[in-house]
Amino acid sequence: MMITVEIVDKWMELFYLKVSEQKAYLSELDTPIGDGDHGNNMMRGMQGVKDSLDKLTKPDLKTTFKTIAMALISKVGGAAGPLYGTAFLEMAKKCDETQAPVELFSYALEGIKKRGGATVGDKTMIDVWAPVVDILEKSSLSVEQIREAANGTKDLVAKKGRASYLGERSVGHLDPGAVSSQYLFESFIEAGGIK
């Protein structure tokens, strides 16, 4: 399966809808271990993505990815902005070379790691992105596997971002960015990005 502009458009449409539905929940997750704005940030960002994509006429894949990246960078406002933005920027940079999801997501993951200085186990969105890439390297990807990864952040101690100020006390809470990443990959599957 190769990523196409049509898949990305559908993907973003579905992710926009999930973020709209779960906006309050994402902000609620961000309240005990953050500043309670992750849902609003992602909603603002995805509204920006929708508006920007709507303005494009017959864009290629690179332009589509770049447009998504710039909208997220300029609209989100919180840490998730430069992180998701960098992920899509990296995909824009590499999508001439390859359109395989596993490869593009792997470049995106490296971008996220570099941008935020976090790694696997730090209780961030990386704890969804990294398993997704791992799984795709071997096989297909299921909704259950994505959810399992996001739920796994509950037991982790936050090492990066606002939650890290709470140290051990962050245990027992889901990471909001991991959950929004869960929605992102669920939307990707629903958009027909896998197999």
Partner: protein, 124 residues
Amino acid sequence: MTKKFGIVIVSHVPEVAVGVPKLLEQVAADVSITFAGGTDENEIGTSAGKIMDAFERNEAQELLAFYDLGSSKMNLELAVEMSDKKVNIYDVALIEGAYTAATLLEADVALKDIEQQLAPLKIK
């Protein structure tokens, strides 16, 4: 005469971004100091676009940048990648670090000596 190095202040809060330069200007009348605070909608957060503007508005070609929380550093780095100016980001206490740098830039202290004096203020 404007100094060779300028200072850029990045904060999640518009008021903080406006205010810190006022403290610095008292001791660094000849240093160009610009700032970026809040999101594009002036809410609490940061904006890579606003940071780029602060780089451009600064009269100096080489900049020392200071930020409050980790997430502003990410937008700062994005802005640096998109800008033509040389920007050094310091992981030091925002107000205290920027004040130290302003004092020393005004006194024409060399960058490497300034960085040495900033080192103990590294807390990020």
